[in-house]
């Protein structure tokens, strides 16, 4: 059954995109990730203009993260103060990201930058996760108890000014790092159409030493609001949010996520991380391939970006 997308201006098969939403939703439910880093490349492979893919995916991430954020808030796992700082940075970063998309589209280099960003981030994070999960698997096989990280070592971050107390996170740190981290994640979200949890969660754990129970809730809080702002910015700056496409992905996504969560509970943490790392590296290789292999068609056409 075909439906004509009002913003992407193309006729698509509804079931293809519902299925795509369900597949990515399944994986994100299974691995506990947002799935933006999988969905945006998939949308582009399936012929959706890259700018529309990025803008629309932001709206879908709002839908997939809002319920999680509320659940975490009820369990008192959101550090609002920290979340607001991350958010303040995030909004600035997102604004810059959307502006950069606008400029790059005009220059004809958006697809290149998007691919490079995906290849470097997915490659880096996938490799780190792969190594970490393999080490854990090897250690648990050889019977060595896996020790959790020691918290609380002082680093250069503790020397920064504008210190604030974060009660729920039991932290007394400068306000600058959360704002910078938030801005960086917001920027990536604006450019890459991702929530940025895969950057923010490690940054909060390793750089800010936020307790693990607060990390996920606070990051979801930030992602929900930043992607909401990103959606509005893409809609007003680039006219690239396709509401019908977003709705298809949301419906598929929420259903897939329910089944994914069940499947994820049957696997061990390190096994999940290994599989996720393999998946991330596959997406990375696929995107990298297109950059280095001589394309069949050297020419490409684009209508003028934001030509209004």
């Amino acid at each position: 059954m075909n439906f004509y997308l009002p913003i992407a201006e193309m006729s698509v098969n509804i079931f293809v995109f519902l299925g795509m939403g369900a597949a990515v939703g399944f994986l994100s439910g299974m691995f506990g990730v947002g799935g933006g880093f999988l969905m945006t490349p998939l949308l582009i492979f399936s012929g959706i203009p890259s700018a529309v893919a990025v803008g629309t995916e932001a709206a879908q991430i709002v839908a997939s993260s809002v319920s999680g954020a509320i659940a975490q808030y009820r369990r008192k796992n959101v550090d609002i103060k920290l979340g607001v700082l991350l958010l303040a940075g995030g909004i600035v970063g997102s604004y810059l990201g959307v502006e950069v998309v606008k400029i790059l589209r005009r220059m004809g280099q958006f697809d290149l930058v998007l691919s490079l960003a995906y290849v470097s981030f997915l490659g880096g994070i996938g490799t780190l996760m792969l190594i970490e999960s393999l080490n854990t698997i090897r250690k648990s096989r050889s019977g060595v108890a896996v020790s959790s990280r020691k918290p609380g070592q002082h680093s250069w971050i503790h020397g920064l000014p504008f210190k604030m107390r974060f009660h729920r996170s039991k932290l007394y740190i400068s306000a600058i790092p959360p704002i910078v981290i938030g801005a960086f994640v917001g920027f990536l979200g604006g450019v890459m159409g991702v929530g940025g949890g895969f950057i923010m969660i490690p940054a909060m754990i390793y750089l800010l030493r936020v307790p693990t129970n607060v990390v996920v809730g606070t990051s979801l809080f930030q992602i929900t609001f930043v992607t909401a702002v990103t959606t509005v910015l893409h809609a007003t700056q680039n006219y690239t949010v396709d509401i019908v496409l977003a709705l298809l992905l949301m419906i598929g996504g929420v259903i897939g996520a329910q089944f994914g969560t069940v499947a994820g509970e049957k696997l061990k943490g390190e096994q999940l991380r290994f599989l996720l790392a393999a998946l991330v590296l596959l997406v990375c290789l696929r995107l990298g391939w297109d950059l280095v292999v001589r394309p069949n068609e050297l020419y490409s056409l684009s209508s003028l970006a934001g030509g209004h």
């Binding site: 839908a63 004809g108 290149l112 809609a235 929420v254 068609e297 050297l298 020419y299 684009s302 209508s303």
Partner: protein, 290 residues
């Protein structure tokens, strides 16, 4: 079998001629357009001078949610036709259907440090978003290049105006030609530039018709049809008609919403997303409780 087929064609032709003759109102603009295109011929209206009149099967095509491409029929008659039968091949007809003109940027990749990167580009100030050409036989057989040039007939004569800025930056003629060829190639691959060498058929002495496919990805906007009557490589008469291709219903609503009220549209998308997320979590929490 063949005769039966021809007989049916003749009957169809007669019906269509009657339609064109009796339904006065819709045929009017096409007549006007024909007269406009050939005012001199009107002045020297001698018997025996051929003239064509054309129209399309539907003047407006609605792009709705279920739009998945459509086809239009461009038909017309040759006044004072001198050909003996539909099969005589006395006249040639070329039908060109063009979408709206829009600016476009064509880019070329080359290898920079191992990566394939867009390195050169040309901006075309106006290019038909859609271009379909149908004729009674291949266009290079029915007229010399200068005639085709003069009337913009064929892919190699698609009007492409390079933006003045690009010209000023000194792009060689050869390079520009490579870009033009690439545009036609890419547009053909997208199904937006189409040709049909035997797509125009005479149905009787004076009536002809061509079926033109408008693909699902045809850009929305007015679509113009130009029709040429050719005899021995010379254009005897030309006429134009048009189809309006416009969004309707839900598509129009959403497109206007997104482009005229972008802030509200963005907020609406976000609230829809929040609603969907909350609805899903309550639905599945209830389902999971059982």
């Amino acid at each position: 079998m063949r005769q039966l087929h021809n007989a049916m064609r003749a009957a169809l032709a007669a019906a269509a001629v009657m339609f064109a003759a009796t339904s006065g109102a819709p045929a009017q603009p096409a007549r006007g357009a024909a007269a406009e295109a050939a005012p001199k011929e009107d002045a020297v209206a001698v018997a025996g001078k051929e003239r064509i009149e054309v129209d399309v099967s539907s003047r407006s095509v609605a792009v709705t949610s279920s739009f998945n491409g459509t086809e239009i029929i461009v038909f017309g008659t040759v006044e004072n036709s001198q050909q003996a039968s539909a099969e005589s091949g006395f006249y040639d007809v070329v039908v060109i259907v063009e979408g709206t003109l829009s600016p476009i940027v064509a880019r070329k990749k080359s290898n920079v440090g191992g990566l394939w990167v867009n390195t050169s580009s040309i901006r075309f100030a106006s290019l038909p978003t859609y271009y379909a050409i149908a004729s009674t036989r291949p266009v290079d057989e029915l007229a010399e290049p200068d005639v085709r040039d003069a009337h913009a007939i064929g892919f190699s004569h698609v009007p492409m105006n390079i933006a003045s800025k690009a010209l000023a930056s000194g792009i060689s003629a050869e390079e520009a030609q490579n870009f033009r060829d690439a545009i036609v190639r890419l547009k053909r691959k997208e199904g937006l530039y189409v040709s049909s060498d035997y797509g125009v058929a005479f149905i009787g002495r004076s009536l002809f018709r061509a079926t033109i496919e408008l693909p699902a990805n045809v850009p929305v906007g007015p679509v113009k049809a130009r029709v040429y009557l050719i005899r021995n490589g010379a254009v005897l008469s030309e006429a134009t008609t048009s189809v309006s291709l416009s969004r309707q219903g839900f598509e129009l609503l959403m497109y206007n919403f997104a482009h005229r009220q972008p802030l509200l549209y963005g907020l609406f998308c976000v609230s829809l997303a929040v609603g969907a997320g909350l609805l899903a979590s309550t639905l599945f929490r209830k389902a999971g409780a059982h």
